[in-house]
Amino acid sequence: MIKKFSWKALFIGLAVFVLLLFVPRYLPRFQIYLLALIFVTGLLAVSLNMVLGLGGMYQFHHAVFYGIGAYTVALVITKTSVSPWLGFIAAPIVSALFSFIIGIICVRLSKLYFGMLQISLGSLVWAVVFRWYSFTGGDDGIHGIPVPDLISSTSGAYYFSLAVTALCLVIMFRIVNSPFGRSFQAVRDNPGRSEAIGINVKHLQLTGMVIAGAFAGVSGSLFVVIEGSVFPELMFWTLSLEITIMCLLGGWFTFLGPMLGAAIIVLLRTFVGIYTEYWTMILGIVLMFLILFLPQGVLGFFQEKFETDGIKTIREEK
């Protein structure tokens, strides 16, 4: 995470981006959809990692902000007559707002207590959405949401999610490498010491939560674009657990690791899910191997292989 900007990384990133621009021409629809789903889920996982890996906060119920983003778009489109694009602008704002409210209550506590309180507050939001039939559609959710024509086709949705995800990643990368990002890492490593050098730790953590929540909201709005529907599972705690696993799987001390973790899990769920509904069993086995052999996550492992400076020490410390 404290890796410096490198031309090599920029080049690879651009190459991948250009490649992704052209693949829809050659792939069947389902695979285009799958790629878009990976972008959206990956964006969600990277946004979680902003607080989890960068800030060391036990953000156990991140999916709430994802769900809120999705529902915001869905409700703006189906319940109001304003431009649907406003929904996409509103999504991160509303998610950030909820992040702020939940955050202001939770950051008083630390570590596990923070996480537990967040799960209960998040579940409260879920319960409201689950039951409020007249407004949110209750446990049925809202289906057939008419997104703008420009982005309603499979390839339109693909390009829209690609563009927004890429933009968000660039912004988040800047934040990670900003003075705020550095201070957030310092707080992760040693909150007590951070206070002693004049950092208001609770403010910093709250700011981190609001930022992460906003990006989760963006991700949620993209989900509506590719699926055309929303349902309460989007903010159920099991999804939060799943994205936490994505971060650990991909490597939570790397920037793009969670993206990779998301890709692995989405693909596992899709392809192993065809053969058995117990695909989570495979996930469990994968996780066990991960903990035993790749404690740094997949991307963390490769980073350690190729760029040894510093990262090894982290492992020794564990």
Binding site: I2, K4, F5, R174, I175, N177, S178, P179, F180, G181, R182, S183, Q185, A186, R188, D189, N190, G192, R193, S194, E195, A196, I197, G198, I199, N200, V201, H203, L204, T207, I211, D309, G310, T313, I314, E316, E317
Partner: protein, 245 residues
Amino acid sequence: MLLVKDVQKSFDGFRAVSDAQLKVEKGEVVAVIGPNGAGKTTLFNLVTGQLKPDSGEIIFNDENIAGMPPYEICRKGISRSFQIVNIFPRLTVFENVRVSVISYNKRTFNLFSKAENVAVAETEEIIESLGLSEKVKRISGSLSHGDQKVLEMAIALGNRPELLILDEPTAGMSPEETLATLELMKSLSRERGITILFCEHDMELVFSIANKIMVMQHGRTIIEGHPDVVRSNREVQEAYLGGEA
């Protein structure tokens, strides 16, 4: 500059600090000595806000700072190092100090400039003056204990303190490292005009640098005064210095 008056602090009925008095004038180097468990570290924690005093006043530059949170006290101009190494183990030496400078420059909440280009000169200057230049890129958790203690001080200096509080700066250091730290403290005091308040078990070091010494025992201030006065005080000799003095 700093005035500690009748400060008390108990933990579950145990009086760690029951009656502490201390006065630090600008430019002084003041040592707090006393046997283990005398309440020195607790006193420092009370001054820098890690703990809140039960009663008493802590006046810094005409303002009562007792009970303020640590980050606010730090912003008023008091920095500290810790007895047990307290750094950011996963960050490099350079980033350890930079984070502190960023905080001093009030750029902690700056989201979009590049951290790489922020506070470079100030950070380099501090690192160089403490002799850590060769280790800037090392992950700080992998440094030797002595270097980590020096880094402790570097982090504290990042906030450009008026008053620097050092909690046993040479604990666990080799004789050479101790000597280097002594020289460093002297130069901080003379060249930068930083007021220093520290506690230390190494009596040689204490008597060679302190302008004033405060002796604590069982949470109370026994005596506060010039080193010669303290050295010749009978109560202190019995309580702490033993036959040494």
